[in-house]
Symmetry: C2
Subunit: 336 residues, 2 copies
């Protein structure tokens, strides 16, 4: 397989080097065609690599002294964080030195910098953030998850085209089942925004539009791509995470409550840990920024090693499947 | 304790008489001050009551031959369903024959009929649907859950006043902690709608406003009332239910997968059933329609007996705590 070089923003995210370094080395180990440019503070990276074993021919360090903080105001980072690992990684992608960027940093800054440095694909009105959410058929791709807190119908239509292209590229679905998130499945339900978007989407025969869907339908096995504006998508994703964490904590507390609970808790551990793997958000990490000249993967801000590594593999898959070219083709060819 | 009469819409909801009758009889059994008017098709109700034992002096039947279907178009029911159990129950409340209405029927129709028959409280722009969502502090009251799919900032401010009054009335909180649902906690985040609402809410010193909150914060122990528009609220609630059902199904599947899983599944049953009680939506049933001249409780469409009974008790508590008067006072007194 032809080799493939990715840039890893090594400094950003809640854990910074503590997750990015081990994740990169593990990914190199897993995929022999992979090359990685670690972007960040060179002395700190060298220190973190000091006692590790790895194939040095496939690992490059690209020095950038600055870091975008998680609470930096995105628009200001464009001006004051040009020496940051995030900015530099995107420049490497723009210049063709790498085929994709992976970062666990500030989402707003990553979107803003990507728009300025990489530019949007011709015809794309706004980029969108798309991530897999665990569901009965494996997962559902959901977008937008917060890049655009207000959207018009044309933008939702473009999200449908881009999400559909992503599902085709990464999952090989020929006709991904696409739905619009709404407060009911009936045609009369919803805001004028979703009704207008439904008209645009259903008129495009290249899309396999299955209609309006409700919040609980994200988890069904009937939908591959769920489209919504970034405000609703962001709230929905966080409610999903919040519910899962709440349930996990309640369950743990129950097993600690009594001696009986403690004993059965021990017995049940292998079953529960298998289950936790099923719904582990770490396994589903790697949101994709869609609509840009290049593959940009946003790893969860709190990504641990395993999680960050999934995001790197997600980036490699997106490059291999020619995601960017697929989206460009979807947006720019009008239906015949 | 002084007696209290409620109207139960006995025909609506997915289960109709199959849940409303037993729920009503159980509630009468639990609360000796309670009187119930069962509104619906008299012959069918008599048949359903035939072999039950109950205190007949506290149960009245109020005949109405028609039923609002779950898929009836709300605006049309105002014209064509005047002989329905839902319409008649609201008339009983308007005429002072009962102190509250409980219905598991079509939400849109219940909101539309309530606005026409009961009217809104003076000064209230739009009624809102508010329900308790399980959380680390017991539950969080969330509104609006779908009565208003688009809102302006003034309406969100009124929801804050009404939700806060509900929390005071039902939970006895002196200063309920109130948050606005947003895509981030920082002041700069969010749509102009939530920013304007935040200004109105934070300027009212009667409200204990704690700021913007995110989707996962619904489950924290730091918030008593969460305010959002009805589109976002409806999606959030359904995502929460969908996540919980998905996790339950995955867990069940795990326990069925192997002999070890099956055996430990048996042992763990008492612990898991206690846990399921903790997060059981049946226990948290009873959404309140706020902003009307009278107490209207919306039970979940699929309410079983236990769930419907909680909604009846919720109605009784709301009447006892003078919820309607409290809300009227909040809306109509400007801050001094």
């Amino acid at each position: 397989m032809a080799s493939l070089r990715l840039a890893v923003d090594a400094m950003s995210g809640d854990l910074g080097l503590r997750s990015s370094i081990s994740a990169s080395l593990n990914a190199l180990n897993q995929n022999s065609a992979l090359h990685i440019s670690l972007v960040g503070d060179e002395p700190a990276i060298r220190l973190a690599l000091a006692e590790k074993t790895y194939d040095a021919t496939r690992l490059q360090i690209c020095h950038s002294p600055d870091v975008v903080a998680m609470d930096d105001i995105p628009s200001k980072t464009l001006r004051y964080k040009k020496n940051s690992s995030m900015y530099r990684a995107l420049e490497l992608l723009r210049d063709g030195d790498v085929a994709a960027v992976v970062s666990a940093g500030n989402t707003g800054a990553l979107v803003a910098m990507s728009c300025i440095i990489l530019k949007r694909l011709p015809g794309v009105s706004r980029p969108a953030i798309c991530a897999p959410v665990p569901a009965r058929n494996g997962y559902t791709f959901m977008l937008d998850l917060g890049a655009n807190i207000t959207c018009d119908a044309e933008q939702l239509y473009q999200f449908a085209l881009m999400g559909s292209a992503l599902s085709k590229a990464l999952d090989g679905h020929k006709a991904p089942r696409l739905a619009l998130l709404n407060v009911g499945a009936e045609l009369m339900k919803g805001t004028s925004l979703v009704k207008e978007a439904a008209e645009l989407i259903s008129a495009d025969s290249r899309l396999n539009y299955v209609g309006f869907a409700e919040g609980n339908d994200i988890f069904s096995d009937q939908i591959d791509v769920m489209v919504c504006d970034g405000f609703v998508g962001n709230v929905a994703l966080k409610v999903c995470e919040g519910t899962a964490n709440f349930i996990r904590d309640q369950l743990k507390a129950r097993f600690k409550q009594s001696l009986y609970g403690k004993l059965t808790g021990l017995l049940v551990k292998p079953v529960l840990s298998g289950f936790q793997q099923d719904i582990n958000p770490e396994r589903y990490n790697g949101a994709v920024l869609l609509g840009l000249n290049g593959v940009v993967i946003k790893s969860h801000g709190g990504s641990g090693v395993e999680s960050f590594e999934s995001a790197i593999h997600q980036a490699a898959r997106a490059v291999r499947s020619e995601l960017t070219q697929l989206i460009a083709a979807q947006i720019n060819t009008t239906e015949s």
